[in-house]
């Protein structure tokens, strides 16, 4: 049951990824990308990380895909959002991709994890999480799965506090910089903190 479900989702996801890469129409490509994101979210659910799946849908589909669509709309004529694949690079690109996949797949098949858990190909079932004597991580992980939002919060407030703060700074910097760049030539004395969305809205009203 779980296996066939996985196979179905994975197949769909890979098809969607291929569609993203190959579709000539950019909006179609973005649509395929959304499907891919959704499949990845489903895989997260299968990996018992529902919180991450929700975040994936929220950020990737709700924000990233929309932003990409806006980008496509603002740089192309809507009806003809066609893009060519580059001619000369087609064959080498595909060969490179196949080689990368072959190397990675071969590596995954033969990988021996030095951490003591043995070969990756030998792991056919996820570790059981019943608390065992002297194995603290099982209890930790089972709590993380059952109450993921809370544990994520705890981690961000303790162990990864710095990474969390830095992520905030990163977003601020990206926002500030992107707004400064994407803004039309600023009028003197213009001190209004226009957001990207606001700018788009303004574009939308005065066609």
């Amino acid at each position: 049951m779980a296996r066939s479900l996985f196979l179905a989702i994975a197949a769909l996801g890979l098809l969607a990824a291929l569609g993203t890469v190959l579709a000539r129409n950019l909006v179609r490509a973005a649509l395929h990308l959304v499907a891919f994101f959704f499949c990845v979210a489903c895989l997260f659910v299968m990996l018992e990380a529902e919180f991450l799946a929700a975040v994936q849908v929220l950020i990737y589909i709700g924000a990233v895909a929309i932003l990409l669509m806006f980008g496509i709309m603002l740089t192309r004529n809507a009806a003809t959002a066609e893009a060519d694949l580059s001619g000369g690079w087609r064959v080498p690109g595909v060969i490179a991709g196949l080689c990368v996949f072959a190397a990675l797949a071969f590596g995954i098949n033969n990988a021996v994890s030095p951490s003591g858990s043995g070969a990756w190909s030998a792991i056919v079932a996820r570790p059981a999480l019943e608390p065992a004597e002297g194995v603290a991580w099982k209890a930790e992980r089972s709590r993380a799965i059952d109450d993921m939002p809370r544990v994520v919060g705890e981690q961000f407030m303790t162990r990864y506090a710095l990474a969390f703060e830095l992520a905030g700074l990163l977003l601020t910097a990206a926002l500030v910089g992107a707004v400064a760049l994407a803004r039309e030539e600023p009028a003197p004395g213009d001190s209004e903190p226009a957001t990207a969305v606001e700018a788009e809205a303004a574009v939308g009203t005065t066609p």
């Binding site: 603002l74 690109g93 196949l98 996949f101 858990s117 992107a178």
Partner: protein, 109 residues
């Protein structure tokens, strides 16, 4: 659970998605399409991270969920990257009226 999904399957999926994304980066000349291919690669890495978190044995003192935390940070970074990327693409589009990376020709390289 004998009927569980093997770890390898997730890894194969992610490797395939990564390779597809990389191919896309090489194939596409449109900046926004390249951006999409990059997103595929980041997502592939995320699947890896979460699968390793769920299936692997953590090293001592690694914390309960380094993989998931890293994946969340990657999601954040991806959002920021897309915002920045779209901003830059718009900027270039205003200058050249084109989004294809090949068409930008000021720099001699």
């Amino acid at each position: 659970m004998a009927n569980d999904i093997p770890l390898n399957w997730f890894l194969y999926f992610s490797a395939a998605a990564f390779a597809i994304g990389l191919t896309g980066v090489l194939l596409r000349r449109n900046a926004i399409a390249v951006l999409m291919a990059i997103e595929i690669m980041l997502n592939a890495a995320n699947v890896n991270l979460v699968a390793f978190w769920r299936y692997g044995t953590p090293a001592a003192g690694a914390g309960p969920m380094p993989g998931v935390i890293l994946a969340l940070l990657v999601v954040t970074v991806a959002a920021a990257e897309v915002a920045v990327g779209i901003g830059l693409v718009l900027l270039c589009y205003r200058r050249w009226r084109a989004v294809d990376v090949d068409r930008y020709d000021t720099l001699s390289g």
